[in-house]
């Protein structure tokens, strides 16, 4: 079973790397939002460094949505999802492998390049590292919550917009704790560890709920 799921993970990673993966695209989108914000707010570096973590987190939330609608839809369209449903591995495992592959190609690169984009927003070293760390801990929650929406809208044509409407309200807790953890690192009114640990807890909860709910949605959507 582990081998089958590993094979699925490798397959999805290969697909993401070769067939116009959405990973690179969501990175570009991430950069795009970070670039747009100073144009809207003005190039005041003090202001930007103060709200920098918030901008990075907001950009991460929006960039997570990119490619999420294709997470199960592509497999639904060419029939491989039916094969996976009928395979002798639990559908929850399939969902876990696919979501993990999706996070490895979108969430993880996002967290890794965020210090670089933090430079554009005049973040200092601690804030940059803190934001990257919170993104690393928090983006799995975003992806798993998004996976539920992706599974629910897998068979809907043009499901991208409705997917955003469905999952964005559920991402609010992650956004709150992600931003407050990043800000706690630089301002220091709240200990950094508390919101970070809650963020980790949110990711774990989302992993459990997301996996089972997405599998249920896929199973029952036929």
């Amino acid at each position: 079973m582990t081998r089958a799921l590993l094979a699925l993970l490798v397959r999805d990673l290969t697909l993401a790397a070769r067939v116009g993966g959405s990973g690179a695209l969501s990175l570009v989108f991430f950069l795009m939002i970070v670039v747009l914000v100073p144009f809207a707010l003005g190039p005041d570096l003090n202001l930007l460094s103060r709200i920098g973590p918030a901008i990075l987190w907001l950009a991460a939330v929006l960039a997570t949505l990119i490619g999420l609608d294709r997470l199960f839809q592509a497999d639904e369209e060419d029939g491989s999802l039916d094969l996976m449903t009928g395979a002798p591995v639990p559908l929850e495992g399939v969902v876990l492998a696919k979501v993990l592959a999706h996070w490895l190609t979108t969430g993880l690169p996002l967290a890794l390049v965020s210090p670089l984009f933090g430079l554009l927003l005049a973040l200092d070293g601690t804030a940059m590292l803190a934001t990257a760390l919170t993104l690393l801990v928090g983006t799995p929650a975003l992806t798993f919550v998004g996976a539920v929406g992706a599974a629910l809208t897998a068979s809907i044509r043009r499901g991208g917009l409705i997917l955003a409407v469905l999952v964005l309200p559920l991402m609010i807790p992650t956004l709150i704790f992600g931003v407050s953890a990043s800000e706690a690192a630089s301002s220091g009114t709240v200990p950094f560890a508390t919101p970070l640990m809650i963020l980790g807890a949110l990711s774990l909860i989302a992993a459990v709920i997301g996996t089972f709910a997405a599998a249920a949605a896929l199973r029952w959507s036929e």
Binding site: V148, L152, T153, I156, G159, I162, V165, L166, L168, P169, L170, I172, P173, I176, F177, S180, V190, I198, L202, I205, I209, A213, A216, A217, W220, S221, E222
Partner: protein
């Protein structure tokens, strides 16, 4: 002897008791009441009475609100908004709870009425939530000097409204009612699990961002001259909500019957393109 005691303990386990009670409830009452056909029959004569009673209670409640209730010593006449605001907030939350309950009915028991109930509840709950938000913001303008404050309670209600919107949108997107019902049930349950988390994190966020300075309702205790009209309004609103919900469920059942009949008719026309025979309506649809 020990075996008997253990057996008795096992039998008294709350989960088992709950299971038995639910099982009994389901086998006897529910099957009789909740079959769509039966449902239509027993709610039909009930509806005018329910509608009349809620109109009466709402009339009395509104009369009390407008003419009898004394103005608040701090808030003045604006306190009357509360008699709409609080019941609407209660119903906004109440209908989400009933939707979560129906969602379990859809997924666990595959109950044909559960998803009808759920579908009818969503727009009503969303409407009451928006009434709560609008009345709250109308009250906030004279009292707080602004229509909107990013306070924890307001924000949670707004998020609840957004989740309602998502659920309604998904209903409208998936065409097949059975598939839509299961998708919505999963979404509703995920939302139900998330709502306490959202509530908790919004509380954290609001205490982090702004101290609660303006937000203190008149006093901690409410005078009986205001409390009883408020309770009456809550009762009237609940009755109104239940009436609307039952009407919504009846409409939904009829809509599905029409849908089933249309599909039948299309299939019949497809099978016999040249004939002009009439559709055997009586046996066309079982259940719906």
């Amino acid at each position: 002897m020990v075996g008997v005691v253990e057996d008795a303990i096992l039998r008294a386990t709350p989960a088992l008791l709950l299971h038995r009670t639910l099982g009994y409830f389901r086998r006897t009452m529910w099957n009789r009441i909740a079959h769509p056909g039966h449902f239509m029959r027993w709610t039909g004569p009930l509806m005018p009475w329910l509608a009349g009673l809620s109109a009466l209670l709402l009339g009395i409640g509104l009369y009390l609100t407008w003419f009898v209730v004394p103005p608040d010593y701090q808030q003045g006449e604006t306190v009357r908004i509360m008699y709409i605001h609080v019941p609407a907030a209660w119903l906004g939350v109440f209908f989400y709870g009933s939707m979560a309950f129906s969602a379990i009915g859809t997924l666990v028991w595959r109950h044909p009425l559960a998803d009808v109930a759920q579908r009818a509840a969503a727009p009503i709950g969303a409407a009451f939530t928006i009434i709560c938000l609008v009345t709250g913001s109308l009250w906030g303008k004279p009292m707080w000097g602004t229509y909107w404050v990013w306070d924890a309670r307001l924000t949670s209600m707004l998020v609840l409204f957004l989740i309602y919107c998502g659920i309604i949108a998904l209903w409208r997107t998936i065409e097949d009612p059975n598939r839509a019902a299961r998708a919505i049930a999963i979404l509703t349950l995920v939302g139900a699990v998330n709502l306490p988390i959202i509530k908790f994190s919004v509380n954290w966020w609001s205490t982090l961002h702004q101290p609660a300075s303006i937000l203190r309702m008149g006093g901690s205790s409410i005078d009986p001259s205001m409390l009883y009209p408020l309770l009456l309004m809550i009762l009237a609103f609940t009755l109104l909500g239940v009436t609307l919900h039952l009407y919504g469920m009846r409409t939904e059942i009829l809509r599905r019957r029409v849908r089933a009949l249309t599909i039948r008719e299309a299939e019949r026309l497809d099978a016999r393109p040249a004939s002009t025979g009439s559709l055997p309506v009586g046996q066309a649809v079982q259940g719906f």
